[in-house]
Symmetry: C2
Subunit: 495 residues, 2 copies
């Protein structure tokens, strides 16, 4: 027996059931608001069910939907197939040929999957290239010589041709640098700040340590240094340099900025204790080329009743270049595409439009996200909710959504259904660089939050390849996204 | 300010505070039992705090303990070091030289860590050996020939020397075998039953499919078959044969039993559709040798006040032989040892004894667990609680403990503290083969439950090596075990 008819017109229903609606309002006033937020569209007309019964009926119908999506997803695990398509383009630096390839691949993929209004929305983006030469060598008259595993940070300028050579000043903070500024002139400033392993939330540890990658070069230039070398942002001790964006402060001269692997950071620190006069030779050939026209890639399932109301699922298509950008963020893109496929393949027809947006240029400044939001405003599109996936393709643990408990009220109705899909919690939070501008247009932001313990093992380094993503974990993200997007595409989410 | 003094004598306290105790009982009767189950031992005497304040004080003290354990664990990640010591012995089949080596290694390790009463408790165990020859070949006059990735199941007899060759009957259930029994005589029965990928709980999927591995050979022998070939128990499609225990039903003749990799199972099934008369050549040289004396390895932190009351943390030291038994169950052993180290290194002195037991022979019948329980009964030891870790070294998600909500009452007090250690839920359940016999002596059983999505990628196959375990995930298990064992080692857990 199929009880659900998702696209029954809500207004008609309310006209027919004005009395039930009155008692509903009464119950709401009585404080039973949690019981009453669901759409009555799905309850069969002429039913004599009580409020609690109706609630249970609706939840049981959503449970059926959830299980259908889950079974289909876990059987086929197609998110991983999509991830491999995207990573096949290679590392997708904003403006690169690889990024352009990924735009074409995902555009074709969305077409093949039969999504509606598939398009490439142009975005002008920065074009930074790493260049061919990238090396560092430790030279100590006392201890010998050693190559260091380093990489240029995104945005960095090159060293003079042939490289530079300078003594090294190690610091653990900007305050320490300020205190030692007399010694900084002509040196390479070495920020040896490890991510704090005692923090359970690896993103919190990243947030604290990332300032030295982002602002370290300009702070070093401020006190007369010739280059900066920042310890890679990871909990692991290995030989992987992790790249990422740095930003020049226009008040100070631009100097080259590189990241050094965690093991080499420890080595350099040890050698510096024994020989403070050691030197590092650094050569980078990165440069910024003229801007390039790239694109956000967009496809959707158009809503049957309220096509103008949009539930957005987003992720970013660009990546860093050292690996294949698998966890960051082919995984998010793949999960978003698979979510829409699962909704379609499960025969579900949401009232509202569910749209997948693969944003270009998250890593170099979020131009894709801003361009999308501007276009949305111009077109007077109404984004009710936007979820961004950009924390890797790991096991999903929770749903972060909205700004307060009221924003979560509708989702609480199906909290137990979400638990059956493996979710452990729902709380406020979520969002991302690309969807942030939509909040100003009234969209509620969110994310399905995966386990973060291993994310920075792979983040922005050469290990971030498809083999590091687990097909089943990624699929579980897609399944949750599909169900949540469908639910938000049907129910009243803002009371 | 250090408020906690864990080993204040509870009795003395109760004498001094009889009136507070009376009001406590009153509150308990009033149904506020959840507020009142904690030990008052830790509240400073002479305090004029209310019940709720005392509760908050105690919780905040446990929070301090938890953070201390967490910081130490995550900084040092020593569980992984212990795991590598254990896996360095290789695959540790019950009764094997590798298992004996692991007994010595962990005995020395516990000594080095300064645990109390470290000992090897003898256990007589089965000794099954795989032998040198283990192969299968598909032979079809229509389609050609192909080697199949197979392995003998634990307990299986060998094939006749030089192997056997027979036609194959594929079935998906014992009912199907019964229906086809006229065709079974002289054949190899091929149980091609995949683990159900749509089940979120991989152990549930395993439980359903494992019957064909365990009972398949005897059911095949019952209808006159010459051997059995069972599809490997995994969600993955790969070329890994997964071994595991099979059991002969003494009513039927013993025939050789092997597992076939999931990809080869699919291949064999496809070929059978095209050529039902194809044959499989199977050769196994496994055998059962006379029993061997092995050992459980035991160490403890002896309780300061009630040393006779024991909180047990257990895991099994034996493993299968195809890999190094890293997830199954060096991870459990390492987490248990690290838990005791963390308690000691954090300067904590529990009232009760916290004991680590590395059980021998979980995989071939649980003789170690039974021997331990018998000895405990003989010595009139009182096990209040026992936690067994045997679900791999993955990210811990929840705590399964006890039989009913009453058993969880004490732990609910620190539920939020456990959440700060990364735990998402507490519910009834848990336990394991080795500690099950202790339930008869009144012990409450439990386990810290890790994520199960990837467990059967590694389970009982050659991929189960140290590199498949993540140091931080494993450490999080040890941290939780340490905190929970310490809490149970101090608080009243049975009202």
């Amino acid at each position: 027996m199929r009880l659900i008819k998702y696209h029954i017109n809500q207004r008609k229903y309310y006209q027919r059931h004005f009395r039930s609606l009155l008692s509903l309002v009464f119950l709401l006033i009585c404080g039973f608001s949690k019981l009453a937020i669901f759409s009555f569209a799905s309850v069969p007309s002429g039913s004599s069910l009580g409020i609690q019964d109706k609630k249970e009926l609706i939840v049981s119908q959503y449970r059926d939907v959830a299980l259908k999506i889950k079974d289909l997803g876990l059987k086929e695990e197609r998110a991983y197939e999509f991830l491999k398509i995207i990573t096949s383009a290679g590392g997708r630096l904003t403006g690169s040929p690889q990024a352009a390839k990924a735009v074409e691949l995902t555009f074709s993929l969305m077409k093949e999957l039969g999504l509606d209004q598939v398009k490439k929305e142009p975005v002008e983006v920065k074009r930074w290239v790493r260049g061919e030469r990238e090396k560092a060598r430790l030279i100590s008259s006392k201890l010998g010589e050693k190559d260091l595993a380093i990489c240029a940070l995104g945005n960095s300028i090159a060293t003079p041709q042939g490289g530079l050579k300078a003594k090294v000043l190690e610091v653990q903070s900007f305050e320490a640098l300020e205190a030692l500024k007399e010694k900084a002139r002509g040196r390479i400033i070495f920020y040896n700040v490890a991510m704090d392993r005692t923090l359970l939330d690896s993103f919190a540890a990243y947030g604290r340590a990332a300032q030295f990658r982002v602002r370290g070069a300009s702070q070093a230039a401020r006190v007369g240094a010739v280059a900066s070398l920042t310890r890679s942002l990871t909990f692991r001790l290995d030989r992987q340099p992790h790249t990422g964006q740095m930003i020049y402060d226009e008040r100070y001269p631009q100097i080259p900025a590189a990241a050094i692997s965690s093991l080499d950071a420890e080595l350099l620190s040890r050698w510096l204790q024994k020989d403070p006069d050691l030197e590092v030779e650094l050569e980078l050939s990165c440069q910024t080329l003229p801007p390039v026209i790239s694109a956000n890639v967009i496809g959707q399932i158009t809503g049957k009743e309220k096509p103008e109301e949009i539930i957005l699922l987003g992720a970013h298509l660009d990546s860093w270049d050292l690996g294949d950008g698998a966890h960051d963020d082919a995984a998010g893109c793949a999960a978003v595409i698979e979510a829409l496929r699962l909704i379609k393949a499960s025969g579900l027809r949401p009232k509202r439009t569910i749209r997948a947006v693969l944003f270009m240029d998250e890593e170099f400044g979020g131009t894709g996200g801003r361009a999308y939001a501007s276009a949305a405003e111009r077109k007077q599109e109404k984004h009710l909710a936007a979820l961004e996936q950009d924390r890797g393709g790991f096991l999903p643990l929770g749903l972060a959504f909205g700004r307060n408990e009221k924003d979560l009220q509708a989702l609480r109705l199906v909290e137990n259904v979400l638990r059956e899909l493996g979710l452990h919690w729902i709380r406020n939070g979520g969002g991302g660089v690309d969807i942030a501008p939509l909040a100003e247009q009234g969209a509620l932001l969110g994310s399905v939050i995966p386990d973060s313990q291993k994310y920075f093992d792979y983040h922005h380094c050469s290990l971030d390849v498809a083999a590091a993503v687990h097909p089943r974990e990624l699929e579980l993200q897609a399944i949750l996204l599909a169900f949540i997007a469908f639910f938000l595409g049907v129910e009243n989410i803002s009371l």
